[in-house]
């Protein structure tokens, strides 16, 4: 079988080491390993990470193949250093049955760029009224463990309570898109100084925070774990911090864009900055970075949300919400967290691989780089810095807020169970 020797990589940012991949598995980690019979990848100066795991991706297939497919989305994932992505359920049809989740899962396996772990809808049709067949989705070939109505909030407290309770039977977790619907009717951007000036409907922080507060209390009451999607405000951080201090089993994610961008950008009325939850203020950005650094926020998840050009090349109110993120996530994390001294590379591995795999129970992913583990690996040229060029994206969509912005770090290689999916920055 094939052998690959990654020579002189800084494993998790540590001292240079050689890593030998054999038969899809990490065979040896050490110094001066023999290159005999192996393809050699010179990795001096580069950082080797466990394959990244994204707990929050929109692959759009089935239904919106004009914006992304499982193939283009997993190619984008491989380009960004990911070896596993959790595909959100808001497709057409909704991933609320075993049939749909199996289809998405199988497409991921067939294409072979990145494992696709489907997320199941919590409620039928994401309508928030009736529980979907959560157990059937779990028992399907897709083995769904994460359930979310993402895009919509499970706002009915009783439905949320039941879902939290029900999935305990098979170790599942509900990932909540926290957005109080009445408080966000017609919402277009963060409610505050900028929305007041621009005359755009406000999306108040309290609409997120009140739902998170309710859900951590529900999780405590029924003894379930709960995961908070794309936490975006300083107040949400405080609530999660408080919940964790009480021993509530809550985990939370933050997106790269909420770590870098603020609502000041909306002054351009360019819908490339339109996203849900919306870009917040500088104060929120600071709080999110601190929370990711101190562990209050467990993981980074992209909320990769591809949209076709015409859905963004229009006036703000008519535009779709969301940004692509798989191919820039690691760079944004380096820019905001590593180059600022807030996180080490080992801590990045924790927040972008180990922990998301653990929350989603993605077996074989988020494992240490050591002998005997599956060879899901990502090699990063952290010294690189250059402008983002959407024309080079593998994603079918180009709705990135970083066009032309210089960002650090470039993923040069990705291996999925020993098979290179990205070599020298090019997809295989």
């Amino acid at each position: 079988m094939s052998k690959t020797l990654i020579r002189g990589a800084q494993v998790l940012g540590g001292e240079p080491q050689d890593v030998l991949i054999e038969d899809g598995t990490v065979a040896q980690v050490g110094t001066g390993l023999s290159a005999e019979g192996a393809e050699v990848v010179e990795a001096a100066g580069k950082v080797l990470l466990p394959g990244l795991v994204d707990l929050h991706t929109h692959l759009r297939e089935p239904g919106r193949e004009d914006s992304e497919t499982v193939l283009t989305g997993t190619r984008a994932a491989a380009s960004g250093g990911y070896t596993a992505v959790f595909a959100m359920a808001n497709t057409f049809p909704v991933a609320d049955t075993a049939g749909v989740v199996e289809q998405v899962y199988r497409l991921g396996q067939e294409h072979g760029y990145c494992d696709v772990q489907p997320v199941g809808a919590v409620t039928v049709g994401l309508e928030g009224r009736k529980l979907a067949e959560l157990g059937a989705m779990h028992e399907s070939a897709a083995g769904v463990t994460v359930f979310s109505d993402d895009g919509k909030c499970v706002d009915d407290a009783v439905i949320m309570r039941r879902a939290l309770e029900y999935v305990k039977a098979f170790g599942g977790v509900v990932a909540q898109h926290a957005q109080e619907p009445r408080l966000t009717e017609g919402a277009q951007m963060n409610e505050g100084v900028v929305s007041a000036e621009l005359g755009l409907g406000g999306w108040p922080a309290v609409a997120e925070e009140s739902v998170i507060a309710r859900d951590v209390l529900l999780a405590e009451h029924v003894g379930s774990r709960v995961h908070i999607c794309h936490l975006s405000t300083a107040g949400s951080v405080e609530i999660v911090r408080w919940a964790k201090s009480r021993g509530i089993d809550v985990t939370a994610e933050v997106t790269p864009h909420h770590l870098l961008l603020t609502d000041e950008l909306v002054r351009t009325y360019d819908p490339v900055y339109k996203v849900n939850p919306p870009l917040r203020t500088e104060r929120d950005v600071r709080a999110l970075r601190e929370a990711l650094a101190d562990g209050t926020i467990d993981i980074v998840a992209t909320d990769h949300a591809p949209h076709p050009h015409e859905d963004k090349d229009c006036e703000w109110a008519a535009a779709a919400m969301g940004m692509v993120g798989l191919e820039t996530a690691l760079s944004v994390v380096q820019e905001t967290m590593v180059d600022t001294g807030l996180l080490t590379w080992a801590q990045v591995a924790e927040r972008m691989s180990f922990k998301p795999a653990e929350i989603g129970r993605a077996s074989g992913h988020g494992r240490p780089v050591s002998a005997g583990e599956p060879a899901n690996l990502t090699l990063v040229d952290t010294a690189y810095r250059g402008p983002v060029d959407p024309a080079g994206f593998a994603s079918r969509s180009r709705n990135t807020p970083y066009r032309g912005r210089a960002l650090p770090g470039r993923v040069t290689h990705t291996w999925l169970r020993g098979k290179a999916t990205l070599v020298d920055g090019k997809l295989t």
Binding site: A196, G199, Y269, E310, C314, E315
Partner: protein, 325 residues
């Protein structure tokens, strides 16, 4: 002057005074038997209205015609143009026909800004009201009306509104008129106070260059002009206030309240008025109410804006002020 007029906040004090002064010149054209200038002969202006507004459209149209522009009216209401793609396509279609300026009214905040800045077209863009964002020509005509009444028609030339106390009352949250006026009046040196129930003031208003009050009666005696903003009855259904009656009682302007204003203070309204809601008929029809004057001034202001954005450097009107003496 800039190439577009998108927001009142984009105007410097000198820009704004120049527009007001130019509008005074334009107003004199209206006093002539033949109300027409050749300034924009051969130029094409399109009135692109994605939202119904007969008043504003007619006002712009009158201004364009008095400047001899070729005018195209495009009412997008009712056709399938609610999608943004169509804003771009419509704009590019008009561009291909060689329009020199686009006067746009749109229900989405920021649509004129996008039109001017997205590279879709080269024409000058004039914002005739976008969503709950801005309505700069309304603010200019309001300032023009205030300057005439509070400073003087001739005495006002070259001057701003320094020290004048202006109060805006009503639905600030949903009002592009309020936003534009706060920006422009502040630039012109006026002291602005917004009066509204707290539900109708946006979160984030603290950064605006004005005072906020919830108590109309305490503000009226300190107001040189009181502008009543239209309040839509539907707001009541979204719990912004309990009933129409309670709104009128607390924030409506009736004769008793008007009597609390200084003797020479004026009452303004951008129209259309909801009589019995924010203003009583008695006040609306009183000498102190400038609502009709504002409409007339709107044409002069829009002529001035079109002239300054499109006309270039030639004098618009050949006669001088001395002719009036």
């Amino acid at each position: 002057m800039q190439r577009h007029l998108i927001s009142a906040a984009d105007l410097s004090r000198d820009d704004a005074v120049l527009i007001l002064d130019t509008a005074e010149e334009m107003a004199r054209v209206a006093d002539r038997p033949i109300k027409k200038l050749p300034t924009l002969r051969g130029r094409t202006v399109v009135n692109l209205f994605f939202e119904d507004s007969t008043r504003t459209r007619i006002s712009f149209e009158a201004a364009e015609k008095r400047l001899s522009a070729d005018v195209i009216n495009f009412s997008a209401k009712g056709s399938s143009v609610s999608k943004g793609e169509s804003l771009k396509d419509t704009a590019q279609t008009l561009e291909a026909m060689g329009v020199d300026a686009v006067v746009i009214r749109h229900g989405a905040s920021g649509a004129p800004y996008r039109l001017a800045n997205s590279g879709w077209i080269d024409a000058a863009v004039i914002n005739a009201g976008d969503g709950t964002h801005q309505h700069p020509t309304q603010a200019l005509l309001d300032a023009f009306t205030m300057r005439r009444r509070l400073v003087g028609r001739d005495a006002g030339l070259g001057r701003d509104l320094a020290g004048r106390r202006i109060t805006l009352v009503g639905d600030v949250l949903h009002s592009r008129v309020a936003r534009s006026n706060v920006d422009l009046l502040h630039t012109l040196g006026a002291e602005v106070t917004l009066v509204a129930p707290p539900t109708l003031v946006p979160v984030g208003v603290g950064s605006w260059p004005c005072e906020i009050s919830y108590d109309l009666d305490s503000v009226l005696p300190k107001s040189d002009a009181v502008m009543m903003l239209r309040v839509q009855r539907e707001r009541m259904n979204a719990a912004f206030f309990p009933t129409e009656r309670e709104y009128s009682r607390r924030y409506g302007l009736d004769a008793d309240r008007m009597a609390r204003m200084p003797g020479d203070a004026i009452v303004m309204h951008p129209g259309p008025m909801v009589r019995g809601m924010e203003i009583t008929a008695e006040v609306a029809d009183s000498e102190r109410c400038t609502a009709v004057e504002q409409v007339a001034n709107g044409v002069s202001i829009r002529m001035a804006v079109l002239y300054l954005l499109l006309g270039g450097n030639e004098p618009a009107v050949t006669h001088t002020r001395t002719e009036e003496k």
